[in-house]
Amino acid sequence: MPKTDKSTIQMIMARKKEILKAWLEAQYDSKSIRLDLINKGELATQSEDFLDAFVDAIKTENLTDISAPEYKYVVQMLGDISRSRTRQGFSPSETAMYVFSLKDTLLHFLQDAFSDKPEELNKEVLRFSKLLDSLGLLTFEAYTHSREDVIQRQQQEILELSTPVIRIWKGVLSVPLIGTLDSARTQTIMESLLQQIVATESSVAILDISGVPAVDTLVAQHLLKTVSAARLMGAECIISGIRPEIAQTMVNLGVDINVKTKATLGEALKEAFSRIGLRVVRSEAAPERS
């Protein structure tokens, strides 16, 4: 490993103030600066802190290994900046430009310092650009991580939101199922349905699968488990919303659903009413509706 020329680092340390000023100007000038999302003062403090940490790290003359302990603080800061920018709504390239604009600025200063020694300049430029590239990539990584966290949280929320158990009549519950049924969702559905059966003392539950795009053997098995569990507690289930294509796949797959099924929710409701001994009659006084 060729030793870094002391003079480069000393130059950077000596001209830190100038570098910071030039870097900030480069950031203000760049198209990716989002002054609608972050104010200048905040950006200046952030940049100054980062530059301090960066200079502290390169003081150790390690310009290759950013996993080394001397870069710990730099990496941590970069991660924090990247995460906060994710939340503020910066795009990944706008986040990465933060580091890449520092690279441009530093290269300018290197050019200035080694203008009479082209070979030295070449060497130093290569080393610094490698280091700053890897730091730039780090911002991408942190950005992706925090995006994944956000997505995961949203997934959890959707899971909780998407399984409503509705009491449509005294003693009749309905579960409109929408979207793909996987094990985690079915588990949530089963638990909330059974809890509602106890809470509302309902004896009939309608599972409406109109909104389920595909029923494979696994989904059918999940549904059957829910039906059996409800039956063990003393409630009957009716599955409604069986579309022609679902009926076809189920027969082709050889799935035998040993439970009352209906084509539409209305039919299922009628069946549920007859199970609990209710009859819907048109009131004489009501006007005829088409």
Binding site: M190, A229, A230, L232, G234
Partner: protein, 131 residues
């Protein structure tokens, strides 16, 4: 407690399980219950398990066989008040207790037995309809 009390209520037998069931207790219950059905001439048995948090596979099978035994002796058995967690566990174990009648609570179980007995007296065709 080494015995589960069996109460006679009119033409029904009422069993409320309020202690954790171990295998021997379940065996004793099966013995006592079948004997009681024979001596009392009851036509309906109601087993309330709402106080049970845990039902293992042995207990599940026992409930199933009690139902079959009493049916042979011309008495329907209704299991009432199963907790959601218990129901999920039994289904995951693959025990869906076919042939066992179930109801949400004692009230509904009584109602179910009354209608079943009423229909079996009035109309013999409806008496063994399984749903």
């Amino acid at each position: 407690m080494d015995k589960i009390p069996i109460l006679k209520m009119g033409q029904f037998l009422l069993v409320t399980i309020q202690v954790d069931m171990h295998d021997r207790l379940a065996m004793t219950l099966q013995d006592d219950l079948t004997r009681m059905v024979g001596t009392s001439g009851a036509h309906g048995v109601l087993i309330d398990i709402s106080a049970l948090d845990i039902v293992d596979s042995f207990m599940g099978r026992m409930l199933s066989s009690i139902a079959s035994m009493t049916r042979i002796m011309d008495a329907e058995t209704v299991v009432v008040g199963m907790q959601p967690a218990v129901a999920i566990t039994l289904v995951e174990l693959g025990l869906s207790l076919p042939g066992v009648l179930t109801a949400l609570n004692v009230d509904k179980g009584m109602e179910m037995l009354t209608t079943r007995l009423g229909s079996s007296r009035g109309d013999s065709k409806a008496s063994h309809e399984d749903d």
